[in-house]
């Protein structure tokens, strides 16, 4: 009997390219990834963006300052309030206006609610990317309650346009405090459920622990901010290090982890949810009385110069860079969006992982495509 032996030197394997996106269930929108694969192993990821580029920076150049926030709603639509707040704060700082305490506290509560809503959506989509479809509905169920609170006070659910230069659009609704407190109570009871379904699940842990490692040094060098950066140990919480609004008067922990893998990024966000609940809990009973808006001129003109404002959105650090030439329109507006820098590190993180891991890594970066494309 002759035995045939496989001569592994003559068998040639070949890398091949796969276009993941722009229409793909787990690229969360119209992101396209050109994957270089060998079998299941990812060798290179080349993100191709721009499918939803809307030229917001160019549009801002022809808008007045109080009109800009409504465009930023459409950038990172899951942290619309933080985007609005960033522009409002930048204009206020440039004009050196001090907004009333009431505005600061309302903005902070709103920002934390928005962060919660964003993290809830992230959580359910994360579950869905990992194949657990049920989490999707549980996350959305809880997010709906926050959106109802938004609708009652801001009049909109997603594109709030609530923060305006000099204050907020409306005063809070009379029911606001009660509903927020109800929500905190409800959601504290629901958080263990999140842990039982995903965080503790052996399949989920096996799939995430040790995958997509990003060291602290790399996180800083690649500018990976937000919960993704903090999971690598990069202390980048703008709320803590450059406090704005009412963050200097609340006690909260900056969630820092050292592992830097997919599970750490997941856990950082879940921990941040309960941290956000804490922040809201501290503020909701102490909303100072006062105006919800400073008297502003009809046409806002910024002094000549360059102004930069950093805020912490749900995805990381958002920067608004306004160059003003003293006219009623900005000369140049640049948004340093968190997803943009986080995406840049994707290739670095996902060398040598499998396709399924790539989906998980992308999910923990929590990309919102209009935020990247702007």
């Amino acid at each position: 009997m002759t035995t045939t032996t496989l001569d592994f030197d003559t068998i040639k394997t070949q890398e091949y390219l796969v276009n993941m996106g722009p229409q793909h269930p787990s690229t969360h929108g119209v992101l396209r990834l050109v994957l270089k694969l060998e079998g299941e192993i990812v060798h290179n990821v080349d993100p191709v963006v721009g499918y939803i580029h809307s030229g917001i920076e160019k549009m801002c150049e022809s808008l007045a300052y109080h009109q800009i926030p409504h465009l930023t709603d459409r950038m990172d639509y899951l942290s619309a309030h933080m985007n609005n707040e960033a522009v409002a704060l930048c204009v206020e700082n440039a004009l050196q206006i001090e907004v009333p305490d009431r505005v600061k506290v309302i903005r902070t509560i709103m920002a934390e609610l928005q962060r919660l809503a964003s993290h809830q959506l992230w959580w359910c989509v994360m579950g869905m990317d990992m194949g657990a479809l049920t989490t999707f509905f549980y996350g959305l169920r809880d997010r709906e309650l926050i959106l109802d609170i938004f609708e009652e006070t801001c009049g909109a659910r997603l594109t709030l346009n609530y923060s305006t230069p000099g204050g907020v659009m409306f005063d809070i609704h009379p029911n606001f405090q009660k509903r927020v407190k109800d929500f905190i109570k409800y959601f504290r009871a629901k958080l263990p459920e999140y842990n039982q379904l995903l965080s503790g699940n052996v399949i989920f842990r096996e799939r995430t622990i040790g995958i997509g490692h990003l060291s602290q040094k790399d996180a800083i060098a690649w500018g990976v901010t937000g919960p993704s950066g903090r999971a690598s140990g990069f202390a980048c919480d703008v709320r803590k290090h450059h406090p704005y609004s009412a963050y200097d008067r609340v006690n909260f922990n900056e969630i820092l982890r050292t592992e830097g893998d997919t599970y750490a990024r997941y856990q950082a966000r879940v921990d941040e949810m309960s941290e956000s609940l804490d922040i809201i809990g501290q503020l909701i009973d102490n909303i100072p009385e006062g105006d919800h808006q400073v008297k502003m001129k009809g046409i806002i003109k910024l002094p000549e110069g360059e102004f930069y404002q950093r805020v912490e959105t749900a995805r990381g650090e958002l920067g608004v860079f306004i160059v003003s030439d003293g006219k009623k329109n900005p000369y140049r507006v640049k948004f340093r969006s968190p997803g943009f820098s986080n995406l840049a590190a994707l290739n670095h993180m996902s060398k040598g992982v499998k396709i399924a891991d790539l989906v998980a890594i992308m999910s923990t970066l929590d990309l919102v495509i209009p935020d990247i494309d702007r």
Partner: protein, 362 residues
């Protein structure tokens, strides 16, 4: 015609005799083939639709939703509407696809499920063929379905489909082992491979109760491996929609897609039916020792309801898996099989042999 819901033997034999009165023996055979073929076809179509509806309702309930509610009362006709829609859809064949294999693949997948159903005993006497190697036959035929999946993935000329098919191939070939070994565990206990005899052996008590720990372990292993073999979540890597859009059936549309879809649910039924036959006593009613009154009440429920009740229970558990767990990665699936299920299974067979040899089972 004598119709007895407790024993279909009289019904089938009376049909046989009735046919024999006016047909030659060959004609009787052909007529019976046709009859069985049509009833299996009807059963697959109707039960498939019911399962799709159930799946949607069950998953909706797990997810705090209502599920389909619009077509008919509680959306009962939703799957019928979906099926009509699928029938009317255009059949698309991608450019440069291997046309012959591409069109063949869905038929292989669906034909295999028909073949497996032939050996399933629905009630006493209601079984198309009672092979003396019935268990072997079902497990052999059920594993043929992977050929269809591989062909579909290969011939679609789509990289996603190919990855899905390759995953599916690796997965099903591995899990075939676990299914086979856990079946062997139960065959050792039953002492026969003939399905009717296995069920008869459980008339005093279902194997899951009489077989001690090894039977329970074999049941759990069979459930896991069976879920994996039907390509259902959390083992749905072949179609992993968040990674491969739809895996091996990405390019299929219309009735060909419907075949894959239907085959998945019929496979689910076959796996549940095998679990029922081997572990839960087939169509045998639930008896508790010497509680004569209780046993009589249990006997009053016809066997066919017992069978379908048990099958539905197993299907529900498998659905429960799917709608709770995240999907595994391909290397983890293989690790689970080769490092966990296989050694456990081998030990389990030894344990079962010991128990049977020592006569410790009930």
């Amino acid at each position: 015609m004598a119709f007895d819901i407790y024993d279909f033997t009289s019904l089938t034999s009376s049909i046989h005799e009735g046919l024999a009165t006016f047909l030659p023996p060959v004609g009787v055979l052909v007529a019976e083939w046709l009859l069985v073929g049509i009833s299996v076809l009807l059963f697959v179509a109707v039960f498939g639709l019911i399962l799709v509806y159930l799946e949607r309702k069950v998953c909706a309930l797990f997810q705090q939703r209502l599920g389909p509610m619009r077509v008919g009362k509680w959306g009962l006709l939703q799957t019928v509407a979906d099926f009509i829609k699928l029938l009317m859809k255009e059949l698309i064949t991608p450019n440069k696809a291997d046309k012959f294999l591409y069109n063949l693949a869905p038929f292989i997948v669906i034909i295999v499920t028909f073949m497996a159903i032939a050996a399933i005993p629905f009630a006493k006497g209601l079984q198309a063929i009672d092979f003396d190697i019935g268990v072997l036959y079902v497990s052999a035929v059920a594993s043929l379905g992977v050929i269809g999946i591989l062909l579909a993935g290969w011939s679609s000329n789509n990289k996603y489909s190919l990855i899905g098919a390759m995953r599916s191939g690796a997965q099903i070939i591995s899990y075939e082992l676990s299914v086979g070994l856990s079946l062997i565990t139960m065959i050792i206990l039953a002492g026969s491979m003939q399905i009717s005899e296995i069920i008869q052996a459980q008339s005093t008590g279902w194997f899951i109760f009489t077989g001690h720990i090894p039977a329970i372990i074999a049941f759990i292993v069979f459930l896991i491996a069976g879920t994996a073999e039907t390509n259902r979540g959390p083992f749905d890597l072949a179609e992993a929609e968040s990674e491969l859009t739809a895996g091996f059936h990405t390019e299929y549309s219309g009735i060909k897609f419907a075949f894959f879809f239907l085959a998945e649910y019929v496979n689910l039924f076959i796996v549940s039916a095998m679990a029922t036959v081997l572990f839960l006593g087939g169509w045998m009613p639930f008896h508790v020792g010497s509680f004569e009154g209780f046993n009589a009440v249990m006997d009053f429920v016809p066997p066919i309801f017992w069978f379908f009740g048990k099958v539905m229970f197993v299907i529900f558990v498998i659905m429960w898996f799917k709608w709770t767990f995240p999907r595994l990665r391909i290397d983890q699936i293989l690790t689970l099989e080769w490092k966990y299920l296989l050694p456990i299974n081998l030990l389990n067979i030894l344990l079962m042999t010991l128990i049977v040899l020592m006569g410790w089972h009930f």
